[in-house]
């Protein structure tokens, strides 16, 4: 089943071509320990972010979000803090492939920056492919969500997806 995506907008990165390594700081991208990653996460943006964020919260991004060399620690940290999806105007293709392979929902919504404020509550309608802003009542159309992305999210990542869809003989 696809997860329910309903959460507050914990942060908005309106800048285009945002390099996600900045979320933990480039000097921290070799860190493996999740607790340490959590402690450095978003420090340059909001020093008390980790105290404010709660499970289900969302990140909003601009155009070509994930540009550059997107390393994994930033989203290991954000997911550990409870972030449940990123909704952006568009994503850099490498970042998109990488994070969706990790089973993490990335949703493209061209109008998103115009209709959200920090801490608004948003819901995603997977069927209708719409984002609803519970605070303002505005409903926005997303770009079609590829079936592969839905499958990866549903299975919680590439390994379970492969087991269920592509390696059926080895299951038995």
């Amino acid at each position: 089943m696809l997860p329910v995506i309903k959460g507050r907008v914990a942060w908005i990165f309106p800048e285009p071509n945002f390099d996600i390594d900045l979320i933990v700081g480039v000097s921290n991208i070799k860190i493996k320990d999740v607790e340490v990653l959590k402690s450095v996460c978003m420090k340059d943006y909001d020093s008390s972010f980790i105290n404010k964020v709660q499970p289900g919260d969302l990140i909003i991004g601009g155009e070509n979000f994930g540009y550059g060399h997107p390393h994994y620690p930033a989203f290991i940290a954000l997911r550990a803090l409870g972030i449940s999806a990123v909704i952006a105007e568009s994503f850099a293709p490498g970042f998109y492939r990488g994070e969706t392979s990790n089973g993490f929902p990335l949703i493209e919504c061209p109008d998103i920056l115009n209709y959200v404020a920090r801490w608004d509550v948003l819901t995603l309608d997977w069927e209708q492919e719409r984002i609803n802003n519970e605070n303002s009542g505005v409903s926005l159309r997303c770009l079609p969500i590829p079936q592969k992305t839905k499958d990866l999210v549903k299975h919680g990542g590439i390994l379970n997806y492969l087991r269920a869809n592509r390696l059926s003989e080895s299951k038995s």
Binding site: N17, S90, A92, R97, G98, L162, L167, S170
Partner: protein
């Protein structure tokens, strides 16, 4: 309707016609990887989790050890040992000490025209210079390794039609960053960048590799180029088989067609903190610089060192300036030494290193707080080459050589 190069390659791969937007399972001709914590070691763990003992079709694989080269700690050596063992157990070709994989894969004949190659890392797009389609598939590497197929939506194509030829003091780096400046860092987002036209023929393969390498900084999935006599010679000189012509159909459909006259391109500088920020060199002339790096999978080829040496010959790097010249492969290293370039660079005061990724990530030649570097590396985000309080400017080998003489950003055209 006619097809773009990527549509042709992927149609051939699938055995039926596909166009941009079609999703299918494609079979990579080559699966390549490098070791780094969380890469090959992780694929091994994932294979175990999937209950797969060995990779099939091991001739499709080539692995590289190009990061942490040479190892500087027991821990790094242990990582390499794990890769060596995994490769041995699976009968996978492993290449170490020969240079950066994105380069060596071409020199060894694994990147052929019309072939489809997958890697974790998007800079595999470099192989587009030989008419090979290289795509960085990130964490779906395990999809390729476990099933030998990857699901892909055939990307649309942005065509870059090159005309003219480069002016003195101007390089392929300037061309690429000028394109970023012209169409924006998202200008080819989610597309293949297809280069062609008369101007392309004026660029040698080293320059073409530089252009293809950086597809991701235009938001691209990869780059690909039309092949010609020069590509054919690349194969012939190395006694490699497999040359085929690569080109689009005349009535192919493009998302965009960009025209660029190479003659009009001028030296540019990418200023911190992102590959998105290109400015004209005249905007930053005189900026103090402490260190220079000519190398990486983007540059560091014979052409780059020829350019640097043409400026540094008979001149000296200013005292206190550290100039690191890092050939991308041992083939290049041998070639520049045969050509006398190594001696000229050393004479001028440069440090000429062995091939390694490590300068590109600041494991070697690191920057301290407050320092500024000029680099032909791929990325200029703060912290990429050491301190997060250091500034990284990206530029051509000509610009770096000229700036090394004065210790500040200098227009290389002064030397022509």
């Amino acid at each position: 309707m006619g097809k773009t190069i990527v549509e042709k390659i992927l149609s051939k791969n699938l055995g039926r016609s596909v166009s941009a937007g079609d999703e299918a399972l494609f079979s990579p001709d080559i699966i390549t990887a490098y070791d780094y914590p969380g890469y090959i070691d992780k694929y091994e763990e994932q294979l175990r989790e999937l209950g797969i003992k060995r990779v099939t079709n091991r001739e499709k694989y080539i692995f590289f050890i190009d990061h942490f080269v040479p190892a500087s700690s027991a821990k790094e050596q242990e990582l390499h040992q794990g890769t060596r063992r995994f490769a041995r157990e699976n009968g996978i070709k492993l290449v170490e000490g020969k240079g950066i994989g994105h380069q060596v894969i071409m020199e060894m004949g694994y990147a052929r025209p019309n072939h489809f190659i997958v890697h974790f890392d998007g800079h595999i797009s470099t192989v587009g210079a030989l008419g090979s389609l290289g795509i960085g598939i990130r964490n779906s590497m395990i999809e390729a390794i476990a099933t030998e197929q990857v699901s892909l939506v055939v990307p649309g194509t942005v065509r870059i039609e090159l005309e003219g030829s480069l002016s003195p003091g101007v390089t392929a780096r300037d061309v690429f960053h000028t394109i970023v400046r012209q169409i924006g860092p998202a200008g080819a987002r989610a597309c293949i960048i297809e280069y062609g036209g008369k101007g392309l023929k004026s660029l040698d393969l080293d320059e073409r590799m530089t252009l293809c390498n950086q597809a991701m900084f235009l938001g691209g999935v990869s780059s690909i180029m039309e092949t010609d006599e020069r590509v054919y010679s690349f194969f012939k000189e190395r006694r490699l088989d497999g040359y085929e012509e690569v080109g689009p159909d005349p009535d192919a459909h493009y998302e965009k067609i960009i025209h660029l006259n190479l003659t009009e391109v001028e030296p540019v500088i990418v200023v911190p903190p992102s590959p998105a920020n290109t400015v004209s060199i005249t905007d930053v002339l005189g900026t103090p610089i402490h260190s220079g790096y000519i190398g990486s999978c983007a540059s560091g080829r014979v052409k780059d060192f020829e350019q640097a040496a043409s400026i540094l010959r008979g001149r000296k790097v200013i005292d206190g300036f550290r100039l690191n010249a890092v050939p991308t492969s041992t083939e290049i290293q041998a070639k520049i030494s045969e050509m006398g370039i190594t001696a000229q660079l050393i004479e001028a005061g440069a440090l000429v290193s062995f091939p390694s990724c490590d300068f590109c990530v600041g494991r070697l030649g690191a920057l301290a707080d407050g320092e500024s570097a000029l680099s032909t590396g791929t990325l200029n985000i703060p912290g990429r080459m050491g301190s997060t309080k250091a500034n990284i400017y990206t530029a051509s080998a000509y610009t770096i050589a000229a700036s090394a003489i004065y210790g500040k950003i200098t227009d290389p055209r002064e030397f022509f």
